[in-house]
Every structure is written in structure tokens, then in C-alpha cells.
Symmetry: C2
Subunit: 448 residues, 2 copies
Amino acid sequence: MTINGSAISSENMWSQSVDRSSNELSISGISATTLARDFGTPAFILDEADFRTRALAWNDSLQENFGDNAGTVYYAAKAFICTEVARWITDLGIGIDVCTSGELAVALAGGINPAKIEVHGNNKSVSEIERAVEVGVGTIVMDSMHEIERVAAAASKFGKVQRVYLRLTPGIQAHTHESISTAHEDVKFGFSIASGAAWTAIEAVRKLSSLELRGFHSHIGSQIFGVESFELAAQRLIGLLAKYRDAFGSELPELDLGGGYAIAYLPGEVTVAPADVIPALAKTVEAACVAANLAVPKISIEPGRAIVGPAMFTLYEVGTTKDVTLETGEIRKYISIDGGMSDNARPALYDAEYFAVLANRNSTSTNSNSRLVGKHCETGDIVISEIELPADIAPTDLIAVPATGAYGRSMASNYNHVPKPPVIAVKDGKARVIVRRETEADLLNLDI
Amino acid sequence: MTINGSAISSENMWSQSVDRSSNELSISGISATTLARDFGTPAFILDEADFRTRALAWNDSLQENFGDNAGTVYYAAKAFICTEVARWITDLGIGIDVCTSGELAVALAGGINPAKIEVHGNNKSVSEIERAVEVGVGTIVMDSMHEIERVAAAASKFGKVQRVYLRLTPGIQAHTHESISTAHEDVKFGFSIASGAAWTAIEAVRKLSSLELRGFHSHIGSQIFGVESFELAAQRLIGLLAKYRDAFGSELPELDLGGGYAIAYLPGEVTVAPADVIPALAKTVEAACVAANLAVPKISIEPGRAIVGPAMFTLYEVGTTKDVTLETGEIRKYISIDGGMSDNARPALYDAEYFAVLANRNSTSTNSNSRLVGKHCETGDIVISEIELPADIAPTDLIAVPATGAYGRSMASNYNHVPKPPVIAVKDGKARVIVRRETEADLLNLDI
């Protein structure tokens, strides 16, 4: 298989039903041209089967490796959620993690059983907490002393005992290929184990009869390759489980080890598979529990990006091209597409790198040093700073950017009053709108 | 006047009617507590008189210093626009620069005379161009060879002769306190003077009878202090005006020197006033024109941030606080407010720095080393990385962050399904909603 005229080593960036072996890119047999004609550009194209397969793979791996101690796969809604995807979650029988009332509303609109909902957030409002308790969410992950009081008060108000986790910072800063083990983490989230804040929180929760502490939670970072950071976090949380048992004579039954599994954005990069992480994690957890003479708790995880990231690509149309002479005398070809930082903020936010292909035709043209830019009135509105693309790319050509499923549509803005693109779900050779394109009327709808 | 218990040297960050000499912050006599009670938090609070005063100041300065050669003050819509602010623009009689169909729609909804509208953008679509031509916008600033053809075709289609500028890159990279003079600019915008691209574009436009080339445009950057960069750009554009006259025997009547005037975000910083720039610019333009034996063209400018930036602040409520022990042993107080990177992306996008004050009361508490963070599920969701704030700040306190008028609400996202805050205009002791708060129903409205 070739992309942009040259063979590439890995197709991890694309969803399973994307094919570019014929004249143009297709997904589940539907060509890029057909998608652009039927739904317009820019558009997010979501491979439903791919999403479901990835979600189930994480769930199956958890079941296989942890057996009776498998907890819940909570899909991280912040990566991308809409009502239809929430329906898929319902159908798949997995859980979801939400961190605002808005995400909770979408989960409920998609029919997700509240018992399968976990609520996150460093600053949940009182009304958000009350609503979560009232609808009966399975777990609230508590993040501050203020919140412990609030959740307890909400549970009392509704005559319930709310199951809760404590979010802990185990002192591990995991970034992509390396992780740094520290005592303290300078982050807004959680209670520090090392400082004693976690223990203070445990004692506070135990005094409140409307709260049932079920276990601990940690989330150590994003785009993490390898399993070592997760293993280290698990060991530290299990250490605290043992301390809890020693102090109070009972064992907490659950641990949530969060998400952060990396995906490929560029050719040759790797998308972490469940088999790369879960079996090793299961061994580590079991060994640590044996060493501490603890029953293995139920283990939950929170993949988001790893499920939806590769399942979606963005389809753009080229509007203008321009050759710019650099100080070195070299030429850079600027290719402007009809979206940009409003539908993909990650390059501007994190210097995130993306890949792109010519999607509507093959080209036998040589490549040119190109920069893919958006249509916003901002110099920094760059989708891909440097990429080799066929020199004959011209207005009306279609460009596909893979792996935009996570934090693409979910972080989209209306900068420059650009309407947000739709999300098109593709399955079994059929495409349908699951999030409609915003209109100018929508944008003006808030104006008085 | 004191802020956070200590006198500060400059109040340039705040709009004129903001006062904190009494027990709490007020704007046009309305207290922060009243605003929060009546409109909720987070909310953008816009000082209407301040906006109008700043807009008129730029217009008056242009008239006074350029006299008959004063062009138009085009308010840069990308900084912030809504229908009501467009009505103010209409009322003030100044112009507006828009760069998408969405911004054009808002301008028209606010009753702005199309002749006062200038259209920007590196990738205007054919439909955007046709709409602009059809409604009769005053000027289209053309950015690529593709666009020259498109605007000409659109003008022909509607039987019009469209007035246009060419956007040029004069080889000046202006960043805050320094500007770099180069031959070539590695940006997506405009035609390079040095490479000859600008001349090629001029020749192309002259061949098209449906286009009337009125002059040149340049925009050299953002947050620019000082006048030297603008003077250098003007000189280079005037050099090209002279070359044009020499080649074609006629003079182009207009120049647009763009925007980019800096504002204060922190105590002690300066907000550039018209008097800091326009008189010097007028002298430079006149001298350069005399030297080139040219009539002085009509000079237009595009302030955006300089008008709306200091006119607005964001009012947040504190939700949680947390002391985090750093590796050094020091304590950092995390103060979580009920907004964050969804309503102010600039800290995450540009490492932009902001200031904050306790808004609902005075505090005699000592200060503590604080970090103001948002409510999003992201470690990087930081509004202010490091600031001294009263140690007794607690949940339900109100925090005001000044100078959020530009690129705050305009770049807002719905990350984590957080509804966008409203914009509240305050004038003569009265406050009213001009952009309503988004609701969960709005967020779900796009879901199928």
C-alpha cells in the first residue's frame, strides 16, 4: 500500500475500513469524493465498526487478563462524545467517564445506564454533583476536600449512599516515551499520596456515612507508550490499599488506573493495543497484591483517545495554494484547506504533529515541501507545519488528515465564526450524519 | 487604588468604568456580586462606553492626523463580534474587517453598511466571495492568485466592478517589543514584495476589468508596542506605490496598514493609545510620499484587540481550592474557577499571561503563591500559572480576569461540553445580555 506515492511502514493512523489501494481514499467502500459531495467539507468521518472493535478489544482484554477482577472500561467522553456514540457505548455495555454536566447529559441522552457512569473533574459544581447523585451515577471520583463535603451533602439530600473513588497523584509524570517518578506532582488534580493529603481525604470520607469509598483512581498522563508508568502507578496505589487495610482492617475493592494509551499520528508510529499493556498490568497488579497480602481489587481503565482517535479522520477541501520563497531560497508550498485551528486545535495547543494524504485521486507528481494551513485569520493556524505532498495538489482536491477522532471535534471552536464541522458515521458501506454541521443561524442564535 | 492589597502602577488592563476603591469590584457602579447573581458565572462583562470611546479615539486620531487622507478604521471582527457590537459599529460610523461568511453575517445582522465592510482571509471560498460581492462590500483584500480569479469571476457574475486591495508581505516580522526586517516572510498570508509575487499579482489584477485595484494592505503582527514596525511597513508599501506609478502612470489611492496594537494584560504593561502611533505614522507616510513624489493615499487601519481587549473582563466563581506541595517543599495554592481553557484559550495557545483580582470583597489576608486553573479535564487548563492572591480566597469568591475582550469569547470552545459564557454589556449603571449563555440543549441540538 502506498500513500502520497511512497510505501509507508504502518497504517496505525487509519481506521480499519480505510483503503487507498484504488484511485482514491475510501472508507467502508465509500469514496472521499462521495463523502465530500454528500456531506460537504470539512467533515469528521467516523468508522463505527472500528470504534466498536477498539472499545471491545479493551473490554475483552480486561476481562481475559483480570477475570473476576475485571472492573469497567470507562470510555473517556472528553476525547469525543455525541448522543449516537453514547448509544454505541450503551450497546457495547461498557462504561463512560464524564467530567461535566454537559457530558453527563449526552451520556444519559444516549441511554447509558447511570450505574456505568463515572464522574470526574477537579471543580464539579454543586449542581453538577447533585445531578450526578440524583440520576444515580455509579461512581464519583472525588478531587478535593471541598468536593468530599459536597458529594456527601448531595447524597444526604437525596437519601443515598454514593459510591466514590479518591483521585490520587502517585508521583509519576508520564510523557510519551519517558516517565518521571517524583514525590509530588504540581497539578490541579487529586490528592498527593506523598504529602499525606490522600490520607487526610481517606479519613474525611470514612467519617461521612453518605459516602462509600470503593477505591482509588489515578491518571498519569496522555499519549503514553509502554506499560512501565502504569505498573508503577498501580504499585503505589496498591501500597496505599495495604496501608488502608492495616489502619482500618478492611480492604477497598476497586482501583481505576485511568487512561492515556498512545496512538499513532504519523507513519511508523504505534497505536498502543490492549495486548501491549493489559497482560503486563495484570501480572504487576497480582504480584503487588500477593506481596501485600491483599485480594486483587477490581481494575478499571479509561481509554478515550485509544478508541476514538484512529477511528476518525478529517476530510478537507483545498481552497488555495501558494508558493512562498523562504530566506534560504527554498520554496514552501502553502496549501490552504477549508478548516483549521477551529476544528483541530492540537497543533496550535501542543505542537501536535499530523499526517495528510491527497484523498480524491492518485498523483504521479513529485512531492513538494508543503505546509498545510487553515482558513483562519491567524499566522499560527497551521495543521501540518512540514509535509511532503504531491506538487500538483490544487484547489478542489480533497485532503484527509488521519487520527483526528480524539480532541478534534471535542475541542472545536467557532473562531472567526466558522461553523463546526459535522461528524459522519460510516458502517457497512453506508454513511450518515450523527452530529450535524453548524449553520450561520446556529452561530447567530445566541446573539440578542 | 489598590488591587489584591497592593498598589499597582497601571490600570491599563481595565475598562474605564471599573472601580475597586470600595469593598468590591464594580463596573459602571454595578458590583461583581450583582453581576454574578443576575447573570451567573462565568461571564464576559463588556463596558460599552469604554468600547465606544476606544473605537472613536482611533477614528478621531486618524482624522486629526491624516485629515483628508484619513481612510477607514476597520474594527477587526475576529477579536470579538456579535450582533449588538456590530450595531455599535454601525452607530459609530466606522468600518469592520471580516474574514469569513460567518463574520460577514454578523456584520450585516448589526446593520453595518456593506460599503464599510472589508473582507480578509487566506482561503475565502467561492461562495464566501460571491456573497461578499453580492451584498456590496467595500473592499476585498485579495490574498492569492486563485482568489484574484475568483473575485473577478464573482464581480462579473453580479455585473459589478469590485474594489480590491492586495495583501502584501513587506518583510517585517513584528513581535511585541522587537521587529525583524527580512526579505521573505514564511506565512500563509499575502504576496511577497521581495519575491516579485506582489508585482505578478498587480499585473494580474490590472488585466481584469471587473476588479478595481485601490491599494495595498499589510498586517505585520500582533501585540506590537511602538511605531517603528508600522513605519517600516508603510515605507515599503509606499515604495511599491511609487513603482506602480512609474510602471503604469497612475497612482493607487489607498493603503491599509492593518492592526496589531498592543494592550496591557499585566500590571505595569502599556495599552497602546492612538496618540502613541498615529501622529508618528502620519509624519512617516507624508515624508515617504513627498520623497517619492506621490500624493498621500488614504490610510486605513484595523484595530481589534486595542478596542475590545481592555473593554471586557471575565467574571468567574471559585469552586475549589487546594494546597499542593512542590518538589521544593513550597506550597502552591490551586484555585479552580468555573471556566478555563474553553473560554480563554490564549494561555494554552500562546503562553499568554493574565492578571486576576478577588472581585467580591476586600481581603486583608496575606498573599499566597497561587495558580488559577479551570474546570476542564486537562492538566494544561491553566488561566494564570503563577500569581499572588489573598490566602483566604475560598469557594464562592468571585475572581475577575481583565483584558479578556479580544480572542476570549471569540475563540471559545465547548471542550468537555461546557456551554459558552454569555457577554453582558454594561452602560450607565445598567447591565444586559448581548450574547446569551449557551445551554445544554444548545449543545445537544446538533446531535442526531
